[in-house]
Symmetry: C2
Subunit: 295 residues, 2 copies
């Protein structure tokens, strides 16, 4: 890599899996001059320093963001608004801000409230790189490689700022796509938030039974895969579910209607409905897996 | 391996994943003198011959089972009764019969009807070695290695026949456990049949939407794992769901009650209920994974 890095100074709020991996990836690409981090605990910040995620721990938010080229907000969704309120008055004119939140309409609403006239400097993003592990220790430079990163640009952003944030995520190895925030939230309610809720619900249901040890003792590979996402971060998923609850409730209701139909078929002993449902699902799942393999 | 094999002649009905792997494993262990197969199509039987699963394709059921030491019924659950009816009148006195069915109360009921006074010769089994692939091509000698195999012995079996069938599954590498058929069906409704139904239901729900390509295009690793079992065999899972429908409906109803509670929490914006549910699920899932790793 020759020449000056694309981003001289990068400030990261939240040095867990998302923020830590972003920092490591930008550094590995040689596109970050200096990375300064803020976090909830000194422990996690020191860990991030030791892991080489950060060059420096920040103490004065206003001072650090005033001359930053790029800011990433990668705290839990529930803390995003607070960070926005703190950085909004201090942003340099050249600073672009992005985030790593799993929901976008709520983030955009908070951004409009807190950034005010500077809303154009905030380009919302969602990197699709979930993992059941969290924290700085889980961060890795290749987390975003070949993963989709959804930007939900605002009319106020203008093409230069969108291009700049796009290039940051592309430097991390991401494949950038654009959606509106509303489209994003509908899609992810269906393919991510609902499956997480369903997986948590199954494990919770079994975990509270008297014979839980017997049940879990016979759980095998199907259960393992179905419930992998039930080991996800409870606070993060609470925030995601609440932030996207209108779309999630709608998806949940459609799903419950599916279950009602399957229950009726079971009750009637209607093998045709069951087999047709399973057959459509298998064909779609196989087609999806085949397309993913070709990507 | 020295000395005579434990089973001189083995007859397998159904040469797919379960029956084919059983045959390959017994051969690899040197414990099957000759393996004779019956199947639904000549194509699959010829494939099994070519893959070295069978020594010979059977044509006369009565003749083949009359001097067999061990018979495995590994057809789809819906065909089990028909096979039982055909073999029951011809079983040799020394023959023990086992099966590979995923449900047990229905199999035992069918066995009682068709084996009559010879019911003691049938020792029901369920090897816990699911895979989303099926057919002879998917069979492998190590499918059962370190996997649990549940026997649900009948009072009429007597200890010798149970020991003999146990040793067959142990030769395949299985870890044999014993349950009653009723216990088995309750447990597997909860940890296997329900998760499959839930996974099929999600993919089916999304697959029938106009924007399915957009939705699937953003599905990532959480979706991949949650829906792996939605690529399972539709006919097999129709039969399992119907065979175990009383227990499955009961599990489905408990699960729907869980979803109702989560929906209420979402509607109220009650983050505490969500986080507590997710937290209990994560702790139980992690504990389960840890125990599995130590096994």
């Amino acid at each position: 890599m020759s020449g000056a890095p694309l981003f001289g100074k990068v400030v990261v709020f939240g040095v867990g899996l998302i923020g830590g991996s972003f920092a490591l990836a930008l550094k590995a690409a040689g596109q970050a001059g200096e990375i300064v981090g803020f976090g909830r605990t000194l422990g996690s910040l020191n860990q991030a320093l030791q892991l080489g995620i950060l060059d420096r721990v920040g103490f004065n938010v206003g001072q650090e963001v005033s001359n930053a080229d790029l800011v990433l907000i990668a705290t839990p969704v529930g803390k995003t608004a607070e960070i926005m309120a703190r950085i909004a008055p201090c942003l340099g004119l050249q600073t672009v801000v992005t985030d790593g939140g799993s929901t976008k309409e709520d983030v955009v609403a908070a951004a409009r409230m807190h950034f005010g006239e500077r809303i154009g400097q905030f380009v919302p993003a969602h990197p699709i790189a979930g993992a059941e592990n969290s924290g700085a220790l889980a961060a890795r430079a290749d987390l975003y490689r070949d993963k989709q990163v959804v930007l939900t640009p605002l009319p106020e952003n203008g093409p230069q700022r969108v291009a700049r944030v796009r290039s940051a995520w592309e430097c991390c190895g991401g494949v950038v796509r654009e959606l509106t925030a509303a489209e994003h939230d509908r899609i992810f309610a269906a393919v991510s938030h609902l499956p997480h809720l369903l997986s948590f619900a199954l494990v919770h249901e079994l975990a509270r039974r008297d014979n839980r040890d017997l049940l879990f003792g016979f759980a095998a590979s199907g259960f393992r895969d179905f419930t992998r996402i039930a080991a996800s971060h409870p606070e993060m998923w609470r925030d995601i579910c609440l932030a996207n609850r209108a779309a999630l409730i709608d998806e949940l209701d459609r799903y419950r209607a599916q279950l009602d139909q399957l229950r009726d078929a079971l009750q009637r002993g209607d093998g045709t409905v069951l087999e047709t449902t399973f057959d459509v699902a298998r064909a779609a799942r196989r087609e999806w897996a085949e397309r993913k393999r070709q990507e």
